[in-house]
Every structure is written in structure tokens, then in C-alpha cells.
């Protein structure tokens, strides 16, 4: 392992020209030769679908695997609020430089300058591409595109489709891919789950997958493998992620040698509906866009049990506006989440379980009218009403932070390649662009930038050297070995006949990770988790029950296999959080804060990416650090006051 070097391949020269210069330096593959190359894409969300569509348009043979029944189910579909782009249509001072700066600052100076600059540049192309595909973005009466504001920005650069922007962008990418499926350029495998990546002579040469309906395990080879499998917030059990979101693909790649970067950088989204009771299966996000018009408050006195409308202005604490007057309700997510936690911990929580804060539209309705608010947010208002049986037009919403996005992921270089040659990671599955905290409306931007505009260029540079070489045949011993290991693993899981359910263990794991590696972390708590988790994992193996067989649809078996990987990931998150002796972005170490409770970074020591390598013991991964340099922005303490 010591031979592995972390070479970010960051292009030299001025930032503004870096991507252009880099593209010019990449090897090209002649259009007639592209059809000789086979690429496997895992996952069909924004990153996967956009990459598959674009690679197929270029002429590559593409196989796409998804465990969903159709590619359109991918969780990108649930993104509500919008997508950022530095179009400056509002004439309010936006620019590529400003989007770059906001993203670097929002990420608390823990991302790579060159990657983020490229993202800001490509944001322009994404809006053009999506609009041409027919994505129905919101428009002004003159027919031109509308914008709104999101947290961490003082300009309105967010493009949106009501509260369903992710859905419309995903369907755009899905349709572009469907066109290629219809043309025979993309081969689609649904209800087929990636189980492992196959390596030969140190490079990725294919995958082993499992047919979820028949249990059949098969091998597929390619010149390169692209993982677009999203994030791992479900390690917390309760999160805003869909039920099936999991870490398996990137974790299995990690176990095969891909470095996992900054696993402790998780984002806790400030505006979600608080948990109602113990059977809760997931948490529902209320878009950040609501903070454009909603005001966050709690009762000023901790034991005020009056209904919200009976609490007069003077007895309310609009704490975000009070503490952060410059950004007010639109502070970045990590800042808003921690402030809510402090209020609830201090006894100001609202609702029957005292586990939320208010998000109030009363003033906006008085100012703009109910209709204007309904036009902006009605689908969110309805969703809230359906879940809670409360009317947010009358009473304020109750909200509380919930795990939502993971900035950590597989380490990738500027070309989006992991430390395994031939293995790429795109979108939320990689770590690259958001540092320690992602700004709202930037996930859609990154997934699509990676898939439409970055990978299609960079992958050619890698595959070009295999011209006239067929992919390694699946009859190769490397595939057989990986298949055998998987079969043994599956039969081990199927022999689990204990007395507790898989979900029960997942809930228990989630509670530990939430308590010790959630919104705030401490050395003591992380040590506690690291001594407890291996035992819990062992209990899971001995006491969980997996009914059924491996030859037909078995949803418990799927969950058990994914949960194994979550257990190991949880340990890596705690190791990473313990190592990072500073507070930055979503990573808040109690030992490192100001007297007012704001995060304190240690730039001297931790202006770095922590890239962890698998050693066989999930509590003892080995660390390589990639130093980050900031030549274009100055490292400052983030202030939203």
C-alpha cells in the first residue's frame, strides 16, 4: 500500500484557464475507435445517467447497472430546491469567480480550488443543456428563466422547477440515456446490484453483480468502471435519503484499494420534519428554498408551551436573524443546523417531543399574499400537511436537522479517477467539490457537471492506451475469484438465523453514529463509538435473522448485505472524525469552538484531505494526506454575521 501516491493531477497555471489547458493536454480517442471501448456505469442518478448518455453519444459502448426497477427512481429525483449556475441573469453581481468563492468558503476551505473553479465554469453549460432537453425550469412572464436565492449566497443564482428540480433534471438525464438505450448504444440492467469491482494487475477491469430477482451472480468486463452510486447518509438509519441508498459500491471499491476521503464530512440539513415516533422509517426534507420566505424562531423562554400563534413577537427569538444579521435565515446549512441544535438542547424545542424549531411563513404571507407563497412552495406545504396533519399556511412548520448529504466519498483526482486505475467516481460518491460543507443547490450542479462535462473528456485519456485491446475476458481467474468470494459472503448472510431483525440492528447503528458522529463530535464520544461498534457488528453477525433464500427476490438479504458495509463505514467515519482535531463545516468537534459555539479550524495542521486506505481492520485504516493549497482565495474564518 505504501506505493500509492496521491497525485491530484491539478493542472498548473492560472485557475481560469486550468480546465481548458487540461482538456487540451488529454489524449483523444478517434470517433471511429470509441466503439471499441466498453465502459460500465454503476448507478443511474444525475451523475450516472448523464455520464452514460454522453459517453454513448460519443460512441463508447456503455452498460448501466441499477438496483432500481427503472433508472428514473434514483434518489437525485428527490432533490427539491434547485441548481446553482453563475449566469448572472439577475444582474446582481454574480460571476464564475463569485460562485467559486462562495463554494470554497461554504465548504470551509477544505476543497480543491481547481475542482471547484471548474464546477463553477461548467454550471453555465448545465443550464443550457438541461433547458435544451426540455427541463421545465421556472420562468418569468417574459419567458426567460427565473432564479431564487439559497443559503450561503448573497445573489440569486438558483434555477428551479417548483419544488421538484431534482426530478426534472433527473428525468432530463434519464431521457437522454433512454434515447441511447433505444439506439442500442447503452445496455441497461435494472434490478441488478453492483456487488464488487474486479481488479487485475491493479486496475479495474470489470464488476460482479447480482440479479435481485433470481439471485444470479454474473461478471461483466470493461475498459473502465464508473461509480455513480450516491452518498451514505443512511448510515444514520434515519436520514432524508431514500430507503435503498447505501454505501456498498464505494465501500467495496474501498476494500479493493480505493482511498476513501473525509468520511466524517457529513451534512446535516437544517430543515427536515422532526421524527414523530420510534417506527419512523425516514425523515423528510423541506427544501432550503423555504428559508427565502420563512423565518426561523423558537420561544424565547424555554418552557413556553403556548401554541405558536399565541406567542407574541416579543416572546419569540428569531435566533438566526439575531446572531447572523448579514445572512439571517439564509446562513449555510451547517451553521443553521448547529444553531437549531443549540436551541433545542437549551430547552427551546417545539412540538410534542420538543424536538424542533419553527419555520414561519406568517410575515411572508402578510407581505406577498397566500397565493404568491403557494405558487412558490405549494407542493412542499402539501407534503408537510400530509405527513404531520398540520397546516403550514396557518401554523408555522416544525423543522429539525437531519442527515442529508455526505461530502466525503471516494478520493478522486482532477480526472475523477480513484486511486484504482480505471475506476472513476462521480457525483456524491466522490469527495471532490464541497469540502466540509455543501451549499444548497450545488449537488445537482456537481452530479451533472461530472457526468455531462468532466468524465466524457477525462476517460478518453485513460482508455486510449488500450486501443486494440479487448476487455479482460470474464473467464479470467480474477473474475472467478471475486465471484467465489461473493457467493461465500451471500451464503454466510443467508445462514443468519438469529432472533433480531436486520432493521433493528440498523436502527441501533444509526443511533450510535448520530449520537457520537452526528452534529457534534468529541474525542470521548468517538472513542466510545469505536470501542462499541465492533461489538455491535459482531452481535449483528451472530444475532440477526435473514429469512428466505438467495434464488428469488429477498429484500432482507439486500438490506443485510448493505448493512455490513454501513457498519464498517461507521467505524471509518469515527476514526476520521477523531483524527481531524478541528471543527470545519459539518464536522464539529466540541473541543474546537469559540466561547460563542462557532467552529474553530486548524489551518496549520488540517488544510488537508484525509484519504484512508483499507487495511483489513475497519477501526485501523491507514492514512495519506493530500495537502490543499489556496492560491486564489485567502483562508479566512467564515463569518455570516
Amino acid at each position: 500500500m505504501s506505493a500509492v501516491r496521491l497525485d491530484a493531477k491539478t493542472p498548473p497555471g492560472p485557475l481560469a484557464d486550468a480546465w481548458d489547458n487540461h482538456r487540451f493536454s488529454l489524449k483523444l480517442v478517434n470517433p471511429a475507435n470509441k466503439r471499441h471501448f466498453k465502459i460500465i456505469v454503476i448507478g443511474s442518478g444525475l451523475a450516472g445517467a448523464s455520464a452514460a448518455a454522453t459517453l454513448a453519444e460519443l460512441g463508447y459502448q456503455v452498460d448501466v447497472f441499477t438496483f432500481h426497477d427503472t433508472p428514473r427512481r434514483a434518489h437525485s429525483i428527490a432533490a427539491q430546491g434547485g441548481i446553482n449556475a453563475a449566469k448572472n441573469y439577475r444582474n446582481d453581481g454574480d460571476s464564475v469567480d463569485r460562485l467559486f468563492y462562495d463554494t470554497i468558503k461554504g465548504g470551509d476551505f477544505r476543497s480543491r480550488e481547481a475542482n471547484v473553479y471548474r464546477l463553477a465554469q461548467l454550471s453555465l453549460n448545465i443550464i443550457d443543456q438541461a433547458t435544451a432537453q426540455g427541463v421545465p425550469f421556472a420562468r418569468e412572464y417574459g419567458g426567460l428563466l427565473d432564479n431564487r436565492s439559497f443559503g450561503g449566497a448573497q445573489v440569486a443564482r438558483t434555477f428551479y422547477s417548483r419544488g421538484q428540480t431534482g426530478q426534472q433534471l433527473l428525468l432530463g438525464a434519464y431521457q437522454a440515456m433512454a434515447r441511447q438505450v433505444g439506439l442500442g448504444k447503452v445496455k441497461l440492467w435494472v434490478r441488478t446490484e453492483f456487488m464488487d469491482v474486479v481488479l487485475k494487475e491493479g486496475r479495474a477491469v470489470g464488476v460482479v453483480v447480482r440479479d435481485l430477482l433470481t439471485g444470479e451472480i454474473t461478471s461483466h468486463s470493461a475498459h473502465a468502471v464508473v461509480l455513480c452510486t450516491g452518498g451514505y447518509s443512511n448510515v444514520y438509519y434515519l436520514s432524508t435519503n431514500a430507503m435503498t441508498c447505501n454505501v456498498t459500491a464505494i465501500w467495496r471499491a474501498h476494500r479493493r484499494g480505493a482511498a476513501f476521503a473525509n468520511p466524517c464530512f457529513t451534512q446535516i440539513h437544517p430543515t427536515c420534519i422532526p421524527a414523530a415516533e420510534d417506527f419512523q422509517s425516514k425523515l423528510t426534507l423541506m427544501s432550503e428554498s423555504l428559508r427565502n420566505d420563512g423565518r426561523v424562531w423558537v420561544p424565547a423562554s424555554p418552557d413556553d408551551d403556548r401554541p405558536p400563534r399565541r406567542i407574541p413577537e416579543n416572546d419569540r427569538d428569531y435566533y438566526l436573524e439575531r446572531i447572523y444579521p448579514a445572512f439571517g435565515n439564509l446562513v449555510p446549512r451547517d451553521v443553521a443546523s448547529r444553531a437549531a441544535k443549540r436551541m433545542v438542547d437549551a430547552g427551546h424545542g417545539v412540538g410534542a417531543r420538543k424536538n424542533g424549531v419553527y419555520l414561519d411563513f406568517q410575515d411572508a404571507i402578510a407581505r406577498l399574499g397566500r397565493e404568491a407563497i403557494a405558487a412558490r412552495y405549494d407542493n412542499l406545504m402539501e407534503m408537510y400537511n400530509r405527513i404531520t396533519d398540520e397546516d403550514p399556511y396557518q401554523d408555522p412548520m416544525r423543522i429539525y436537522p437531519a442527515p442529508h448529504y455526505t461530502m466525503g466519498g471516494l478520493w478522486v483526482d482532477y480526472n475523477l479517477m480513484t486511486t484504482i486505475p480505471g475506476l472513476y467516481a462521480l457525483g456524491e460518491a466522490n469527495f471532490s467539490d464541497h469540502g466540509a460543507n455543501r451549499l444548497g443547490a450545488s449537488a445537482l450542479m456537481q452530479g451533472l457537471a461530472d457526468g455531462y462535462f468532466v468524465l466524457p473528456y477525462t476517460i478518453g485519456d485513460y482508455v486510449a492506451k488500450f486501443l486494440n485491446e479487448a476487455p479482460v475476458p470474464t473467464s479470467d481467474e480474477a473474475f472467478a475469484r471475486t465471484e467465489t468470494e461473493l457467493r461465500e459472503r451471500i451464503s454466510g448472510l443467508l445462514s443468519m438465523r438469529g432472533a433480531r431483525t436486520v432493521d433493528d440492528f440498523h436502527r441501533q447503528l444509526g443511533r450510535v453514529v448520530w449520537d457520537e458522529c452526528g452534529m457534534s463530535r468529541s474525542e470521548e464520544g468517538l472513542d466510545r463509538a469505536l470501542s462499541y461498534l465492533p461489538d455491535l457488528y459482531e452481535q449483528f453477525r451472530n444475532e440477526a435473522r435473514v429469512p428466505g433464500d438467495g434464488e428469488s427476490l429477498n429484500q432482507t438479504l439486500e438490506k443485510a448485505a448493505r448493512l455490513e458495509d454501513f457498519f464498517e463505514l461507521a467505524m471509518a467515519m469515527c476514526v476520521d472524525a477523531r483524527h481531524r482535531e478541528e471543527s470545519c463545516g459539518g464536522h464539529f468537534r466540541e473541543e474546537h469552538q469559540t466561547p460563542q459555539g462557532e467552529a474553530v479550524r486548524d489551518d496549520e495542521r488540517f488544510t488537508t484531505v484525509s484519504a484512508w486506505f483499507w487495511t483489513g481492520d475497519p477501526t485501523r485504516p491507514s492514512l495519506r494526506e493530500e495537502p490543499l493549497s489556496f492560491d486564489n482565495v485567502q483562508l479566512t474564518t467564515r463569518s455570516y454575521k
Binding site: 429525483i77 417548483r162 438505450v181 430507503m243
Partner: protein, 250 residues
């Protein structure tokens, strides 16, 4: 509350299937319908039985993965609500609830409440897109789209592909699903070049899998996104024009 659940159990596509009855006690009104099934499934697992297979994912009503017939209605009793957003407060203590999979020839039952809806993908692959390769798009604000047109296109584009329209239709027709995509793209200036070829290909593909529309309107009533059957009329109009425009083509 306590409820009696009559659930469809079917081991696989070739199994005949049957209803089985389960008593579910201590159900909270704040539980979603699927969380009630989760609780029952954990109990069945511990009793050494097989849990009831059902599909669900986002549980926010947007991914379209879930969908079952509840007391004979697609997605259950609450209008404009996908199964995952249905809460037990819609039922009463002591109710008997019957739950079964979508029933349609094109949607084969895979197991219990899980069906195969891949015919929908075939319809989209036939023409549910605008041909614009990555990189070739013009500046987004070059083509203004009147707000009303954009809003109507959005109303159609809101389809989540759940299949409730097919399940609710006495003919198992997929007109509402197909029309929502045809209308979304045909209404926009960006989609107008391929308007007729798109309509013809999508409708012809749809007819390979699904029944015919006889204007019952059950689809609109069942649609969790309240997509209007007006879009079916728009599609039919474009289909007739397409057949005229495209006559003589292979």
C-alpha cells in the same frame, strides 16, 4: 388502533397467489401505511415467516417506486397521494384493509406486491426525449418560453411513473403516462421539431404493451400528481396529425 390486513402473497410470477390475513395491533395514526407494513414485516421475520415484499424508496411521493391497490383503489383512499405518503390516520380502528399489487397484463407480478413496470421505459426509449447531444445546447435564454406554456408543460412533466393510471384503468391502458411525457415535450419550443415522430413512436410502442383508452377517466382520479386527462386529448390530436404527416414513412 388495531387493523386486519388482507395482503396478497405470491412467491413468484408462476405462483397462483392468494390473500393472507394478518392482525396488526398498536398501529399509530402518525404511521405511514408503509411503516405499518415495515412493523408487520419485522414481526413476521421474527415469527420465522417471510416478510411481505413491496417496493418503496424515497417515501416522499416523488420517486414513483411504491404503489399498491388499497381497498381496490390505486394508492389508497387519499386523493393526490402516493402510497408512501398515505398515513394510518386515513383509516379507523378495527378496519379491514385489503392490499394487493397493481393488476395489469403489462405489469407482471414479481413477488407479493412487487410488479414489473419496465414497459414504461420502453415507451420513453421510443421517443420520450429531445434529441440534443451534450455540448450542443444553445444559450438557455435564447428561446423564451411563455410562462403559461412552461407551467402547463410542467404539470404534465410532474408524472412519477408509478403506474397507478394503468392499475386504475379498466382496460389497463397507459394513455395518461404516455400523454404526460408527450405533452411535456410537445408543448415546449425545444421539443417541437420532433413533435410528430415522437408522438407516433411513443403511442405505437405503448400499444404493444397496454390496453386501449375508452375515456373512463379513472387514471386521472388515481394519479398521485393529479395529471389531467386533457393531456390525453392533446396526445390524440398530435397522433392523428402525426399519422397524416408521417404517412408513407417507414
Amino acid at each position: 388502533m388495531n387493523i386486519t390486513l388482507r395482503a396478497w402473497r405470491q412467491e413468484g410470477p408462476s405462483d397462483e397467489g392468494r390473500f393472507e390475513t394478518y392482525q396488526v395491533s398498536d398501529v399509530s395514526a402518525d404511521m405511514s401505511f408503509l411503516e405499518m407494513l415495515d412493523v408487520l414485516n419485522e414481526r413476521l421475520t421474527l415469527e420465522g415467516l417471510e416478510p411481505i415484499a413491496f417496493d418503496s424508496d424515497c417515501r416522499e411521493g416523488i420517486c414513483g417506486t411504491c404503489g399498491v391497490m388499497i381497498n381496490g383503489r390505486a394508492h389508497g383512499p387519499q386523493a393526490a397521494t402516493a402510497t408512501c405518503q398515505l398515513h394510518m390516520r386515513s383509516f379507523r380502528d378495527g378496519d379491514t384493509i385489503t392490499v394487493e399489487p397493481w393488476r395489469a397484463a403489462a405489469f407482471e407480478v414479481i413477488r407479493d406486491l412487487v410488479v414489473d413496470r419496465s414497459a414504461f421505459d420502453r415507451i420513453i426509449e421510443a421517443g420520450g426525449f429531445i434529441t440534443v447531444a451534450t455540448g450542443s445546447a444553445p444559450e438557455a435564454n435564447l428561446t423564451p418560453v411563455p410562462k403559461e406554456i412552461a407551467e402547463t408543460a410542467f404539470d404534465a412533466a410532474a408524472c412519477i411513473g408509478c403506474g397507478a393510471c394503468v392499475a386504475a384503468c379498466p382496460n389497463s391502458a397507459a394513455q395518461l403516462f404516455t400523454a404526460s411525457k408527450v405533452s411535456h415535450l410537445n408543448l415546449l419550443p425545444q421539443g417541437s421539431s420532433e413533435r410528430y415522430i415522437r408522438t407516433e413512436r411513443m403511442v405505437d410502442t405503448m400499444e404493444q404493451f397496454f390496453g386501449s383508452c375508452t375515456n373512463h377517466g379513472e387514471c386521472e382520479a388515481a394519479c398521485p400528481k393529479q395529471i389531467s386527462i386533457d393531456f390525453i386529448a392533446m396526445m390524440n390530436r398530435d397522433y392523428v396529425k402525426a399519422k397524416l404527416n408521417n404517412r408513407g414513412r417507414a
